[in-house]
């Protein structure tokens, strides 16, 4: 899975993107977030307002119960502020 982070999530995690193999027991976006938070402080800080975060899988917005699979492009970002 290729994961992208944007805006202040990117800053807190210290990475714009990373490749990871789908961890055991991670089948949904929600479970992926749990797994990422457990990796360390930067991730925990990035996902602290979990309800406010938006997730995209293969460049479409998805709810957190959406499945994730190897080969997916997954993105996490704060509420958008374009326009």
């Amino acid at each position: 899975m290729k994961i992208f982070y944007f805006a202040w999530m990117r800053q807190r995690i210290g990475l714009a993107t990373e490749d990871i193999a789908r961890p055991d027991g991670v089948a949904t976006v929600d479970e992926l977030i749990d797994w990422l938070i457990a990796r360390g402080d930067g991730y925990a800080q990035a996902f602290v307002k979990r309800d406010a975060i938006r997730a995209a899988v293969n460049q479409d917005y998805v709810p957190f119960d959406h499945p994730v699979a190897d080969g997916d492009e997954i993105a996490f970002f704060p509420p958008v502020t374009g326009g």
């Binding site: 944007f6 805006a7 995209a56 460049q59 970002f77 958008v80 502020t81 374009g82 326009g83």
Partner: protein, 158 residues
Amino acid sequence: MIRVQEEDFDTGAEIAALTADNTAIGGVATFTGLVRDMAPVDGSDRPISAMTLEHYPGMTEKKLAEIEAEANRRWPLDASLIIHRYGRLEPGDRIVLVACASAHRQAAFDACEFLMDWLKTDAPFWKLEDTDAGGVWVETRKTDATAAARWNEPAGGE
């Protein structure tokens, strides 16, 4: 047509190109968004010296194309255009242009407002403002969500 670009655009030339060779078009509604020199930070307005627009290359273009298609489904448009810039911008700089051409004035206005409302709530862009208190990520405004929600009303509610 959609474009996501770092460089500035020429509003007049863009509108002219949109309507060229189609004399069925009765009018063009546009909105140009500009970088403001002040921004609310923790409840009070602070001067900003610059703004950096980050976006999600790939998803941005995909979502812009989808919403432009949706506007064309909802209203009888002869042509439409969304240009959104990214990168470093200064106060007064153009950020975004939305233009909708139609034989029908209200359709052009409605589609233009719909696209702007949508850009505010669903286009994957993030604004980082340089204020005298440092870099501040712009927060979502509740009014933007309210504005966008009006387009979800049942048919006939508009």
